[in-house]
Subunit: 495 residues, 2 copies
C-alpha cells in the first residue's frame, strides 16, 4: 500500500531496494556521479553528517584530543615498515612465537591491493609512487617520533576528520561500502600498556555517548584474532544492527601495544632518562554511522532523524487559508524565530504547494517534529504538533520552545526504545548449528579453539564478531567444548 501510494519500497519486505531509494529520495547523496562508490553529498545529507561530526568534535574536546590534518598522499616506501610489521605478526601467530623474536621480512600485498595509486603527475612518472590514504597510521607514525621526546610529551592524543580511500571491488552502497570515505580517526601514544588500555576504555565511553545521541544500540566485541586489525594487539569492533539482521561495523578501537612503535622507532625518555617504546591506540569511525541511522530508524515513509543530528529538528507549515485575514506566515516566522533563539534548528516551509506535498517531503527527509499553524491554531494560541514517530497534539505557543524540546526528547526516547526492542528481537541464543534463521544475530558461550570457531562459521554461514564487552554474569558451558566460561561470543552476517 505504502509503495503504491508513495513509490517508496517497503522497508521490511525489501530493505535492499528501500535503502538506496531513500538515501537519494531524501537528498542525502546523489549517486549519479560518474565514479561508482563515490557519491556527491547534497546539502541535506552533508548537514546531517556535519552534525554527527560536531558531536564527535565535542567528545574529542572533552577528552583532550587535539585536531590535526595530515596529507592525503603517502609515499610507497613508508608502507614498507608497516608491511614488515604486519607480516612479522602474522608469522609469529602462525608459528606460535613472540613477534619480537622474528625479523622483518618484506611481504607483497596487504594494503597495496586495496589502495589507489598516484604514479604520475602532469606529464611525469613519479620516482616514488604514492597512494591515497586508506587510514593514516603510516603517515602519522612517521611524524610522531619528531614530536615525542620525553614522558612530558605523553600522552599524545590527536585526531582528524578527512577523506580516505579504498579500492572496493565488491558492490558499493551509499555510506556503507564506498570508495571515498568520510572518516574520523584518533591516534594516541602513551607511556605504557596500561595507559593505552585506559585510552581504549575512554574510547568505548565516547562510543556510548555518541550512540546514545544517535539512538543506536550497538554490539561492542573484541574481534577474534583472525579479524584483528593488521598490526594490532587487539581490536574492538563496534557494530550497529541493520533491520535485515546484518551487522554494520561503524567504529573500531585498536590497542597496538608497542608493536607499531617498534616498527617506527617511536620512543620517549622516561623519568629514569631511559628510552622506552610508546604504546599506541587508534579509534576510527566513518560515514557508516549515517548508513546505520538511515537503516535503523527509517520507515516506509522515509527517514527518521534522531533530533541530535536532524538538519532541521522542527519544520513549520503555515496553513494559509484563502479569505482569512490572519497573518499565518507572520506567526509561523515569529514562532520559528523563538525556536531558533532557543537553539533549535528550524525551517518554515512557505512554498505555495499543497500541504500534503509538504508533509510527504518532510516525512521522507525524516524531520522529527512538524508544527502546523493555521488561523484556528493562532486563535487557540497553539501549534499543532505532528511527531515523525507518530502522535499528534496541540502545543501551547506560550512556552513553545520548552514544549518542542520536551517532545524532541520524547522522540529520541521513542527511537531508542524501538531500536532496543528491535535488537532484543533479533539477538538470540544459538541452540543448534543447523538451525540458523535468516535475519537473526546469535550469541553463544564460547571457549573453544580456532578450529571450533571455523566449524561454526562454516556450518552457520555466520561470522564471529568476537567477545562481547558484556560477558555473561555467570559461568556457562561453552557451546562447543562444554568448558565453563563467561565469554559471550556474538555471531552475525555482516556488511
Amino acid at each position: 500500500m505504502g509503495k503504491a501510494k508513495r513509490g517508496i519500497p517497503s522497508k521490511i519486505e525489501d530493505f535492499n531496494s528501500w535503502y538506496p531509494f531513500i538515501v537519494e529520495a531524501a537528498e542525502l547523496v546523489d549517486k549519479r556521479y560518474p565514479i561508482k562508490g563515490m557519491d556527491v553529498w547534497r546539502p541535506y545529507g552533508w548537514k546531517a553528517m556535519k552534525l554527527i561530526d560536531s558531536l564527535t568534535h565535542h567528545e574529542m574536546e572533552r577528552t583532550e584530543h587535539e585536531e590535526v590534518n595530515f596529507p592525503l598522499l603517502i609515499p610507497e616506501n613508508l608502507l614498507e615498515k608497516e608491511n614488515a610489521l604486519v607480516s612479522r605478526l602474522k608469522r609469529a601467530r602462525e608459528e606460535g612465537v613472540d613477534p619480537d623474536d622474528l625479523r622483518d621480512e618484506e611481504e607483497e600485498g596487504g594494503f597495496k591491493k586495496e589502495v589507489y595509486w598516484v604514479k604520475h603527475a602532469g606529464e611525469n612518472e613519479l620516482e616514488i609512487p604514492m597512494f591515497l590514504r586508506p587510514t593514516s597510521e603510516t603517515a602519522m607514525y612517521t611524524m610522531f617520533p619528531l614530536w615525542i621526546r620525553s614522558h612530558k610529551d605523553l600522552p599524545l592524543k590527536v585526531y582528524q576528520m578527512v577523506n580516505t580511500f579504498r579500492y572496493e571491488t565488491k558492490q558499493t552502497r551509499s555510506f556503507i561500502r564506498v570508495r571515498e570515505i568520510h572518516f574520523f580517526e584518533a591516534h594516541t601514544a602513551h607511556a605504557d600498556e596500561e595507559c593505552a588500555t585506559r585510552q581504549i576504555e575512554q574510547d568505548l565511553e565516547i562510543v556510548d555517548n555518541l550512540m546514545h545521541q544517535l539512538c543506536l544500540p550497538v554490539i561492542k566485541a573484541k574481534r577474534p584474532i583472525w579479524d584483528t586489525f593488521p598490526g594490532a594487539f587487539y581490536t574492538i569492533g563496534i557494530d550497529a544492527l541493520m533491520p535485515n539482521g546484518r551487522t554494520l561495523q561503524v567504529a573500531s578501537c585498536h590497542h597496538y601495544k608497542d608493536q607499531w612503535a617498534k616498527a617506527f622507532n617511536l620512543t620517549y625518555e622516561n623519568l629514569d632518562a631511559k628510552q622506552e617504546y610508546c604504546h599506541q591506540t587508534t579509534y576510527g569511525m566513518s560515514e557508516r554511522l549515517m548508513g546505520a541511522i538511515v537503516g535503523m530508524h527509517g520507515d516506509d515513509n522515509g527517514l527518521i532523524f534522531p533530533p541530535a543530528i536532524a538538519p532541521y529538528q522542527v519544520v513549520i507549515c503555515p496553513m494559509i487559508r484563502k479569505n482569512s485575514e490572519v497573518d499565518v506566515l507572520g506567526k509561523a516566522n515569529e514562532v520559528a524565530m523563538i525556536l531558533k533563539e532557543s537553539g533549535l534548528r528550524v525551517k518554515v516551509d512557505s512554498r505555495d504547494i499543497h500541504a500534503g506535498q509538504k508533509y510527504f517531503d518532510w516525512e521522507i527527509k525524516g524531520v522529527p517534529l512538524r508544527l502546523d499553524i493555521g488561523p484556528r491554531d493562532i486563535e487557540n494560541n497553539t501549534a499543532f504538533a505532528v511527531r515523525r514517530t507518530g502522535g499528534k497534539e496541540p502545543l501551547s505557543l506560550d512556552a513553545i520552545s520548552k514544549e518542542c524540546k520536551k517532545v524532541l526528547d520524547e522522540i529520541s526516547d521513542e527511537l531508542r526504545n524501538r531500536a532496543n526492542s528491535h535488537t532484543e528481537n533479533i539477538v538470540t541464543k544459538l541452540t543448534d548449528l543447523n538451525e540458523v534463521e535468516d535475519g537473526k544475530i546469535y550469541e553463544i558461550a564460547f571457549d573453544g579453539t580456532d578450529a571450533h570457531a571455523e566449524t561454526i562459521e562454516r556450518t552457520t554461514g555466520l561470522s564471529f564478531l568476537g567477545d562481547s564487552t558484556e560477558p555473561y554474569s555467570e559461568e556457562t558451558p561453552c557451546f562447543m567444548s562444554g568448558k565453563l566460561t563467561k565469554r559471550r561470543v556474538i555471531l552475525a552476517k555482516t556488511y
Copy 2:
C-alpha cells in the same frame, strides 16, 4: 639584536628566512612530512585555519549558499568538455571572433599538466584514468544539469571546503604554494548575466567582510584578458600584500556568463517554457589567507593573530610566588572561566617554567592579549594586560570580559591601521618605466593596447594585476597612450 636573542630571523631584513621559520616555530605546520609541498597541519595551525573557515561558513549561510561535498577524483573524460571550451575561447580571442562561431577542438595540455593522476588501483590499471581535483568546475557542472530543470531551481548557490591538488614544480612555501591545498569554492548558477553579475558583487562584499575580520587590506582587480581564468568571461583577483612588496592572490571570483553552461549543456526552462542557458560564477579562496595573515601581521617576535581567528585570544599567566599564600592559580582559572563564558577563547598557562619562557612561547604564537595575574594584582583586583601589539595596563577584574573585549577590538584596529599604513607606503604611482623600486607596488592610469601592456611588463619586471575595482574619480591621461581614462591599473611582483 632580536635574532641574537631569540633566534628568529629579522622580518624586514630577511623575510624569506623569517616566514618559513615562523610557521614552524609557531607550530602552525610541520614541513618534515616526506612529500615536498604537503605539510602536516599541527593543532595550533589547524585551529586557526578552522576559525578562518568558520567566518566563511557564516558568510555563506548569511548569503544563502548551501554546503555540499563532491568526490575528490574526476574521470579524465570529463575534462574533454572543459579542454574544448578553453581551447575555443582562446582561439576566439586570438582570431578576434565570437567564441560561439567556433567549433570545439580537442587540445592537449591545460590542466592535464598540473594534476596528479590516478591510473592504478590495487593491482589493476584503470580503464579511465582519474585525476585529483585542482578545482571542481568539471565535477560540479557534470551534476548541475541533473539538479536544475526550471527557473524555480535558480539561483543554485553551493560551496564546499575540501582538499585540492596541484602538481607544483616551482619551489613550495607553506600556505602560499603547496601541492595539497585546503580550499574553499563557491559555485552558482543563475537565470541570466545580470543575476550572475550581482553574485560577483555579493562575493566582493563577502571578501570585504572577511578581510575586515582578518585585518587584511587587499587589492581587488579585474585581471587582464591573458590572466583570466580558463573558461571565464572575466576574473576578479583579490590580492593581499606581503611585507616584501609582493602581492599574494588569496581569492578570486569568476564570471562565466553562459560559457561553461554551453559546454556542459546546463539549461533551464524559463517562464515562457523555453530552454535557456544558465549563467555561472565561482568564488574561490584557500589557505593562502593564512599565509597572508602570517606575512602581514607578524613581527620579529613571531606571529600576531587577528583576534577574530586567534586560537587563543587571551592567555593567562598565573605569577605564582613562593611563600605567598594567595591562590593565584585558582584566581587565574576563575578569570579564565568568566572569559570563556563570555565567548572568548582562553588558555591558562600553568606550566612550571620561567615566566620569560611563557612570554616567549605565546609571543611567537601570536596570542593577541596576555593577562599576568600575581598576588599583588589579586590584591588590587586587577589583571595586568600585555598587548601583543605593544602596550601594558592593569584591567579591573570586576568587568574583565568587557575590558578584554574592548582591548581585543583595539588590537584589531591597531592591526588594521598598521596594515593600511604599510599598504599606503608601498603602493605608489609609476612615473618612469625605468625607475622601478624593489618592494613597491605601482598604479597607473591605463587605456593602452595589449602591446603596451607587454612593453610595461617586460621593462619593469612587474605583472599587471589588472583594473582596480576602485578606478580614478577623474579622467587621467593613460600612462602609455595619453588617452584620458579612469582605469586605475595595478602592477606588482606576485607570488
